[in-house]
Symmetry: C2
Subunit: 488 residues, 2 copies
């Protein structure tokens, strides 16, 4: 039962305006003057005390936070998402296998250059509320994030919760309203929501509006309610959230679709792996060949490479060398070698996707990596075009063969050049229209591969060369038509 | 004599803080509480009533505001500078040959899509103060710019005066302290300045601190003082400014070096022409060849072209066609034609500077023009490289000739590509270092020209091709070294 009457006509005050994905409804503000809990949120408390025994198959006996998922542990993934969202400091609550888990996080702190402190929960077996309560003293801050170590929140989700607005005495909970995408609804913690506030929380709700993502924005009110719940013998985090919810102090922060998964069971583990890999494709940016042929292969390679210490830049270098090997084979002009060369060139094209995939998978994307990749791709194209032309000219002797190869090569480089120039002139990327997809490297190289296997690499070269020039012309016209004015 | 005592220790109030290039000194504020004259300045009053009979030689009898200087009239240049500085509306004071001048400005308004109103001064022969006074009623605004039609202020200067801060009851005067650059000091109106205020103004000052640039930021106080001066039989603008200065109401707005010239005499006319042309070079951006060989020629061509109706994009097209003609001549392989081809290619390189020059001279620079120019330049390079290689291969028969040509061509395009990619990755342009200057088109084409004239165009092609690749490598390394982190 609500304890106060509501004036629904009241204009929303500043503290009730939605911030980020937070939902605030004027009518349901506490009538007593509520003070906005402000200040940059820089601390995340991470609950990493549980046993996670349902994940035994993957862990080989290792505690859950340190089990590696595609090259990074669950703990590391949580820390990296927070770091990307602007969180600088961490407090990790230890319990099960505390020495091993602490050592793992200490290594992360050293590698990523962030501050990670630790607190040990002696009662962690009682429930995750007990673990949370253990952080009460060390947390210190008036406002902090609280994350489960095994919920794999994406940086966008953390960012949304971090930038939400809550009042003093409240907490905010990241909630996901997408029932269809919710993995394992039976096992999930669910909530009911009324007017932007969480009203009930639990695993066994008959009716529910959204799932609990395991990412909270907290004031220190959380600790009072954890303590109160503990004194009643209830040691679940949900128990404290339930009492907070009862007095209208849990704001629902809508993070639907921003990405998270509670990795609690072997099935969830496989799903997490699948989601991480399927998130690697360039989506709207990929060309046709990339999307339907190269990505399905490259993501499998990346999944395997992620468990090694091979870096994205090493893969860039390997892909470049592979393209040079393909070019050398094509230059021979011998039938079998030409087929091999075509296949190797396409293998290089597939590997060209792996550097970016590994970089994203392991949070190691760098500007210099992208820089190197782009320039080496152009040089690989030069080698392939020159090799095919060389081989064909040797068997034909017609100087027009060379001229054709030269023009095709120019088309390859200019196809990439034109869209770069477009970005610079207009300040935004060239749209991913049909021209943009047809001029991409993935298509060029597979056409060359197929043509080489069919015994006509030079014909393939000319075809994609002409296609490239046609795309350049189309892009030139499109760039000409827009923005007739504007500074030169 | 000053009418009030001064507290030099007083802290500057907010209205006295310098804004833009304005200078405000706390000690000399009016002691009565002064109100800042605020509001966006959107109106420029342009005095275009005078006879300008000292310019007879250039005008062929036309009134001064409509005399064309490198393709645009003095009036049009003043309007365009104001437009670029954000001024939207104009009030032109007419006098001498008012019908002809009005028709000219009406054409400008229609062409440039701005609002130009007119007011006629019946007393314009008495002095420019009388012209100014004629604007009193029509001006309407509390704050406006006042410009002489013949002072050729650059947009930067207008912008500085426009964004300066003055108090109600004051005016601001753009002043230039650079005595060395002042053209015709005897004829110039000069001022003395004390603590950021103009204290004396006139052509015959024995001692002076700066020159009057003819650009004013005015409150309506100007009109009262013009009227007061007129009632004393003084009809110069300087007469009103002098009385304003006497009571400390003329702020000096320092616009030293921002560019202006009082075009009053045939000598000043020639100087204006010289300054406009010398301002066309890309300065820091030009390569060696551009700067010392191409620009001196291209600016002369541009000066001539400016009087025609040829557009920058037509010149871009002509330069492209000229390069294709040069390539065709080089492709023949015959000694005399090779020399001709080399020279034509370099002529195209020179003409390549003219499109941008005309665009700047006539305020017609467009984004689409720059876009077209960049892409066509690359295609012209393709044609030249292919032509030279074709001719050489025909006389040699060695397939390595073609390979060399192909690699050289790739170098040409990638040299430009690499710095574009740099901008996109890092968000700022690649610095104009030695690598950047060595990889430019101006150098490539003059080397090819010289080599062609010497009978060895292919050797020249290979040389600049290798140079281009070396520069690409250097730029790649430089881009790799900085910013090791940052989003991919």
């Amino acid at each position: 039962m609500r304890s106060n009457t509501i004036d629904r006509t009241a204009a929303p005050g500043p503290l009730l305006a939605p911030v980020g994905n937070a939902i605030g409804i004027a009518g349901h503000a506490q009538l007593s003057p509520a003070e906005l809990a402000t200040g940059p949120v820089e601390l995340a408390v991470i609950l990493a005390a549980g046993e996670g025994n349902r994940l035994a198959r993957h862990g080989n006996g290792s505690p859950k936070p340190i089990v590696s998922l595609l090259g990074l542990s669950l703990g590391e993934r949580t820390i990296l998402s927070c770091l990307e969202a602007g969180i600088q400091r961490f407090l990790v609550v230890l319990g099960h296998e505390k020495e091993e888990v602490r050592a793992h996080f200490e290594r992360i702190a050293a590698q990523r250059g962030c501050e990670i402190r630790f607190v040990e929960s002696s009662n962690w077996r009682l429930g995750n509320g007990a673990s949370g309560l253990a952080a009460a003293e060390a947390a210190g801050e008036r406002l902090f994030l609280l994350c489960m170590v095994d919920h794999l929140p994406r940086p966008e989700l953390i960012r949304a919760v971090r930038s939400a607005a809550i009042n003093e005495g409240e907490i905010g909970l990241g909630i996901d309203r997408d029932r269809d995408q919710l993995f394992d609804p039976e096992d999930a913690t669910k909530v009911t929501i009324e007017h932007g506030k969480v009203t009930h929380i639990g695993k066994q709700l008959d009716e529910w509006d959204a799932a609990d993502t395991g990412v909270f924005l907290c004031t220190r009110a959380l600790f009072s309610d954890l303590a109160a719940a503990a004194s009643r013998g209830r040691h679940g985090l949900s128990d404290a959230v339930a009492t907070l919810a009862k007095r209208g102090a849990v704001r629902a922060i809508d993070v639907t679709g921003l990405g998270w998964l509670d990795v609690d069971t072997p099935k969830a583990w496989d799903e997490a792996r699948r989601r991480l890999l399927s998130g690697l494709s360039g989506k709207g940016e990929d060309g046709f060949v990339s999307r339907f042929i190269n990505r399905p292969i490259s993501t499998r390679i990346s999944a395997w490479l992620s468990s090694t210490s091979i870096t994205p830049n090493q893969i860039t270098g390997a892909g470049f060398l592979l393209a040079l090997v393909g070019a050398a084979l094509l230059a021979m002009g011998e039938a079998a070698l030409t087929i091999a060369g075509g296949l190797v060139v396409h293998a290089a094209s597939i590997l060209d996707g792996c550097d970016g995939e590994i970089a994203r998978l392991k949070h190691r994307a760098t500007r210099r990596g992208a820089w190197l990749d782009t320039i080496l791709d152009r040089y690989a194209d030069v080698a392939v075009a020159a090799a095919i032309t060389f081989a064909h000219a040797r068997s034909q002797g017609d100087p027009l063969v060379w001229l054709g190869g030269m023009v095709a090569l120019a088309g390859f480089i200019l196809a990439s050049y034109t869209t770069k120039e477009y970005v610079i002139r207009h300040g935004y990327p060239y749209p991913n229209d049909i021209l943009n997809r047809l001029k991409r490297r993935d298509l060029r190289l597979i056409v060359i591969c197929v043509a080489a296997v069919a015994g006509h690499p030079y014909a393939g070269l000319l075809a994609v060369g002409l296609l490239s020039h046609a795309c350049v012309f189309g892009i030139l016209v499109r760039g000409w038509k827009i923005d007739p004015r504007g500074a030169r």
